[in-house]
Symmetry: C2
Subunit: 338 residues, 2 copies
Amino acid sequence: MLATILHGPGDVRYGHVEEPEILKPTDAIIKLSATCICGSDLWPYRGLQPMAGPARMGHEYCGVVVAVGSEVRTVKPGQFVVGSFCLSDNTCPHCQFGFQSSCVQREFMSGAQAPYARVPLADGTLVPTAVMPSDDLIPSLLAVSDVLGTGWYAADAARVQPGATVVVVGDGAVGLMGVLAAKQMGAGRIIAMSRHKQRQELALEYGATDIVTERGDAGVAQVRALTNGIGADSVLECVGTQESMQQAIRSARPGAMIGYVGVPHGVELDGQSLFFSQTGMLGGPAPVRRFLPHLMDLVLSRTINPGKVFDLDLPLADVAEGYRAMDERRAIKTLLRV
Amino acid sequence: MLATILHGPGDVRYGHVEEPEILKPTDAIIKLSATCICGSDLWPYRGLQPMAGPARMGHEYCGVVVAVGSEVRTVKPGQFVVGSFCLSDNTCPHCQFGFQSSCVQREFMSGAQAPYARVPLADGTLVPTAVMPSDDLIPSLLAVSDVLGTGWYAADAARVQPGATVVVVGDGAVGLMGVLAAKQMGAGRIIAMSRHKQRQELALEYGATDIVTERGDAGVAQVRALTNGIGADSVLECVGTQESMQQAIRSARPGAMIGYVGVPHGVELDGQSLFFSQTGMLGGPAPVRRFLPHLMDLVLSRTINPGKVFDLDLPLADVAEGYRAMDERRAIKTLLRV
């Protein structure tokens, strides 16, 4: 079949690969309903993350099961399923604590920017719907797989409470999903840090009450001004750079939690500064599996519309243009139609 | 009067100082019932923290009010009081959120290793007892002021839950109080990391269920073995070095919280490692004021006996010997009788 391969920085191709097969009795094969490009795919695309060689890309997925291994019990061919980008058995102690992204059997999904994909640990990873969802819900169900689940985890880790003041650092797709999550959790004030008009508009639509366009000292001053000098109760860090992490820390009031979900690249934290600022922190790869049933319900009941974060819709064959558009920030997030 | 002055590393003297006076209308003057030496006093004593010149020492205190400024409303001469080492107004937004150690008017107590001391922000800082406590309760009431309050905050920040598995890194007085706090909060298993027999015994008395004497890789392996390879739900970091912080992080299961209360000296944290380990962290100077009423009740009802952490009892005039004994680890914590 034809699928997406990153050959090196800036070099994405839609080329021939082997069809996926059941390799282990716990595997499933799915036919993707749609897939997409993640902000984290841009790290290697931009040459900011070392690559061992050409790599199959894609870890966000939803679709219909076409085959299952002999030990798979909870999903069957013909069912529509959504899974997390982190594959997990959902039974180990870490899974039981709700941290499926640290499952003892954890693998990261790969090769999902393709018509078909193998999903290891199918029983633990995949959640089926009761009926086949409407086509118009596919983008939102796809979003649950990573970008919404990750924004949701940021808000959960930042312990957003009803009425709370929340700052969201980063106006990429995850940041926008963080705004949506904070709104759903009842935040009273949601300050989105964004310099891009289109993203600001989507942030406002998802529930942001204030937009801060400044960064650095000016951005911190603006957050302080908006919070009577106190700082935010919860901060969602959705970028992963030293600058964005400092922005998050300096936006937080003492005792606040920062939920950080941007994979840190070059982030160093000074223990004594963190200590005296009394900044709480919890981050990591999102345990999307914990949230999947709830988030799928919210989508299926049309309570939320996370799929709107896809502002570019391309056939999978045009995946290279999808990467370019996101790299050049012409698109927030690219949906790929299979 | 005669009081404690640190002239330079290793040079503690009991010498003449001015009697404290009301300087602001929000001040109180107390006659100390007892005072003590803090582990943090050893940082400058050991030359590990720069000093601007000779310094009045002591920030842990309880005693009887002898004078108050014109604006003080909630305490009056003749009352027995306990206060936090962090002075706070207890009304600002940070205080209202329970982070009095980041009060907008915060000052750190000083000069308490003395017969009399000035307590700024008396209304916000001091909590009086209904009646004059028995003499035998004085050590425990003094402990509330910092060492117990700090250990308690470590357990609170680490979100110790009933039935939880807790690791306490550090067998100093704060670590031992952390054991006591975890026990009071209902922890099911409390693993104390300690290499000193006397401290191990006190840890066991305060509620530790297991003692780990190893450090570094061996210590981590031991914690893993005791927790079926999972790691702890909550970790209390009560030292403040890079080594102890790494011990704490490596003892935690994914999603666990570390409550860190040892003032970090040279601690640097790698963002990406913290991210992938999914270690939650909250630390800082303890907001003891938040816990004061509850902890004083536990002492007055003789539910807890934190005063047992004082294993050396000296007249204030012998304060230099008190520092030496703690520096040489001959004493866990020195009580100074006024």
